[in-house]
């Protein structure tokens, strides 16, 4: 039987096991919407296409499945670009379907035409313009395969209207044949041997785990390695949760706003084991002075991540899970040794750094400290919530003061740093995990960047909670202005903020406010008891800084402690 292109798209989604599509209709993709309505794929109607991509991204991170997004041509397509770029930086598997004008009009400056394949070439793992309906099923098969395999990433498929109308026999391919794409999953045994040799001699090792550890689902293997040899573990922002935050060997986050002791440990370690991390500038600081004493083992599935900014002694290309499994097997063959005893001096040194420079803030007086809010959210949820964040101070405080014991529980736009990411991502995560608490820790600036998705949350009965740390500023920039620009707060004070409680109510959601420290816990508890979308407006201290902080150009061991 022949199917139209639009039907092929929908049937292919079903073949891929897609349960949710986040999207927004438009003229050239009406055919797909017409088919979608009749089939068992649930469509979540957003209010802005950027929201759709972030939802697909949040859905992908929480569920481990490929997130899917469907938008129209022109502005519908360009509105997805920020979300695609964010997913690309964070290696999140999503497939974005965009409508396109009919093939004969392409290049003609037709109404709502844009060269979205050209625009997204540098920020997708791969993208396609489908010109013949006969290619459609194969392209969709490839798109899903590429999105989830190797180093995951976003794939865009551009669908001209005439291709959606044209008909052909539908046969969904069983497998993908791409002669030029063969990710390396199996770590080379010779490299494992070298890594093991380094580890055996290491006196002051540190494991540095990134987002790739979550993508590879190798939390158990990291834990095995860490516990076997008593190696402390630090995570990047993207890697939080891959190793339990409450574990005695956990150092918390490293980097620009990481813990003092994590950065000191990396700055003084003799062997650094990087797992699915890419030595990003926010982690290394001044790269010339990063981990100066360390011999580095770097495990990554993407060869381009290795030796991109930092020289490594033992590169291991492969799936982190495979590499660590092999490494752990190798270590088991060693003669028995009391590693925890041998590690005592190193762990003791780290403990001293931790005691001398703890993560701290002072909750005193009538004003609520933003860190206090995050800490209370952690306590009330007993660390069991999925936390999404916006970008800025809210993101850093969430990373510092919420201890993530479970993987895939911290969802943040790490690489691109998209304000407006957290709320739609929370909606996607909540749809993926209806049984879990999902809380977006937001700022009053960021939340307004995709506030329109309140309608999406309410209309779809998505009971996400939004905790706004409302300081009336674009806080992270204000902090930089306070410390380095003589307190000249150019354009960072947000006047004209809405009343967030009334705003929530206007959308048909629930709005709660806490203005005094003693109101914080009751507001959190009340919000969590309401099975609806809730905005919690925490009126917090206006000029609180994220501390510690590594100034631009400094080494990671030269942290500023901002009080």
């Amino acid at each position: 039987m022949k199917l139209s292109g639009a039907e092929i798209v929908v049937e292919s989604l079903i073949q891929e096991g897609v349960k949710f599509v986040f999207g927004y209709p438009g003229a050239v993709i009406t055919d797909i919407y017409d088919c979608l309505e009749k089939r068992p794929v649930r469509h979540v109607l957003v209010r802005h296409e950027q929201g759709a991509v972030h939802m697909a991204d949040g859905y992908a991170r929480a569920s481990g499945q490929v997130g899917v997004c469907l938008v129209t041509s022109g502005p519908g397509a360009t509105n997805t670009v920020t979300g695609i770029a964010s997913a690309y930086m964070d290696s999140i598997p999503i497939v974005v379907f965009t409508g396109q004008v009919p093939t004969e009009l392409i290049g003609n400056d037709a109404f709502q035409e844009v060269d979205i394949v050209g625009i997204t070439r540098p920020c997708t793992k791969h993208n396609y313009l489908v010109k013949r309906v006969e290619d459609l099923a194969r392209v969709i098969k490839e798109a899903f395969y590429l999105a989830r395999s190797g180093r995951p990433g976003p794939i865009l498929v551009d669908l001209p209207k005439d291709v959606l109308k044209a008909q052909t026999e539908f046969k969904y391919p069983k497998k993908v044949e791409l002669k030029s794409y063969r990710p390396t999953y199996n770590a080379h045994p010779g490299q494992i041997e070298k890594a093991a040799a380094l580890l055996q001699k290491a006196r002051k090792p540190v494991i540095y785990a990134g987002g790739g550890a979550l993508a590879s689902r190798c939390s158990p293997e990291i834990r095995t390695l860490a516990e076997a040899l008593s190696i402390p573990v630090t995570s990047t922002l993207m890697g939080l949760g891959c190793f339990p935050g409450t574990h005695p060997l956990s150092l918390g986050m490293l980097g620009m706003h990481g813990t003092y002791w994590a950065n000191m440990a990396v700055g003084h370690c003799d062997v650094l084991i990087a797992v699915g991390a890419r030595f990003d500038d926010r982690v290394t600081g001044n790269v010339e002075r990063f981990a100066p004493e360390a011999r580095i083992i770097h495990i990554d599935i993407d060869p381009t991540s290795i030796r991109k900014s930092v020289n490594v002694e033992v590169p291991i290309v492969g799936d982190c899970k495979d590499a660590l499994t092999k490494l752990n097997q190798r270590i088991q063959q060693w003669a028995a040794q009391d590693w925890s005893k041998m590690r005592q001096p190193w762990l003791e040194t780290i403990r001293e750094w931790q005691t001398s420079h703890p993560l701290t803030y002072r909750q005193e007086g009538e004003e609520i400290k933003p860190q206090f809010v995050v800490e209370k959210i952690y306590e009330v949820t007993r660390g069991q919530a999925i936390i999404t964040t916006e970008v800025g101070q809210n993101q850093m405080w969430a990373a510092q003061f919420y201890k993530f014991d479970r993987p895939h529980s911290f969802i943040t736009s790490g690489g691109l740093g998209v304000m407006g990411y957290g709320f739609p991502a929370a909606i996607g995560a909540q749809i993926a995990c209806p049984e879990r608490m999902v809380i977006d820790i937001a700022g009053d600036g960021s939340i307004q960047m995709n506030i329109q998705e309140m309608a999406t949350a309410v209309a779809n009965n998505v009971p996400v909670k939004i905790a706004i740390l409302n300081n009336g500023y674009l806080g992270m920039v204000r902090q930089v202005q306070e410390l380095f620009y003589g307190k000249r707060y150019a354009q960072t004070a947000l006047s004209g903020n809405p009343d967030f409680v009334k705003l929530a109510e206007a959308y048909g959601a629930v709005g709660l406010r806490a203005s005094r420290p003693e109101e914080v816990v009751p507001v959190i508890k009340k919000a969590l008891s309401i099975p609806r979308t809730v905005i919690m407006d925490f009126v917090v201290c206006a000029e609180e800084c994220v501390s510690p902080m590594v100034p631009a150009g400094a080494a990671m061991t030269e942290m500023l402690l901002v009080s």
């Binding site: 070439r121 002669k179 790269v287 010339e288 990063f290 900014s309």
Partner: protein, 178 residues
């Protein structure tokens, strides 16, 4: 542990790619987006019409060229990347040179053409158009010699290159992934 960036060596890369629209743009976009430099670039189909060969000359430290090679390999449409640097290979460029040819200089131009084993491919009362192939050095040398006679226009390709075959072994077929 930082990367050494002092070397700035020339590298000739041969990139086999899917012969599809947009592939060249992916390759050049990668260079511009990541701040790598392209000195010259030549593209044409191989014996397999589904595969094109891009010959690309770039400069950079060992670490930069390693990144370039890896980043190229990461593109889905790239089948194979060969860095000829440090291997035995044949490299050629071609130029068309329109040179002013007056009665007094015509003979000298023809002698030069002869010495450089190039060809005159178009003649008029005012000028000769010369076709030359060779290494970049040879073309530079010819241009220097002709420049004082008055070069009107030139069109020049980038380098193309192939690895030298092992003399005893069979020839490798183009476009076959190893």
């Amino acid at each position: 542990m930082t990367m050494e960036n002092n070397l700035n060596q020339k590298h000739t890369l041969s990139v086999l790619v899917d012969n599809e629209p947009g592939v060249l743009s992916r390759v050049t976009g990668l260079f511009s987006g990541r701040g790598f430099n392209i000195e010259s670039l030549c593209v044409a189909e191989t014996m397999d019409p589904q595969v094109s060969r891009i010959t690309l000359v770039t400069r950079g430290s060992e670490q930069i060229v390693e990144q370039i090679t890896k980043q190229l390999n990461k593109l889905i449409n790239v089948i194979k990347v060969i860095d000829f640097t440090g291997t035995e290979f044949v490299e050629r460029e071609m130029a068309l040179i329109k040179v002013r040819a007056e009665a007094s200089t015509r003979a000298e131009i023809l002698r030069t053409v002869d010495i450089f084993r190039c060809k005159v491919v178009d003649v008029s009362l005012q000028d000769y158009t010369i076709e030359v192939t060779g290494t970049a050095g040879k073309i530079e040398a010819l241009l220097t010699l002709l420049s004082h006679l008055g070069i009107k226009e030139i069109a020049r390709t980038g380098a193309i290159a192939l690895g030298r075959s092992k003399k005893e072994g069979p020839l490798k077929r183009e476009g076959v992934k190893e």
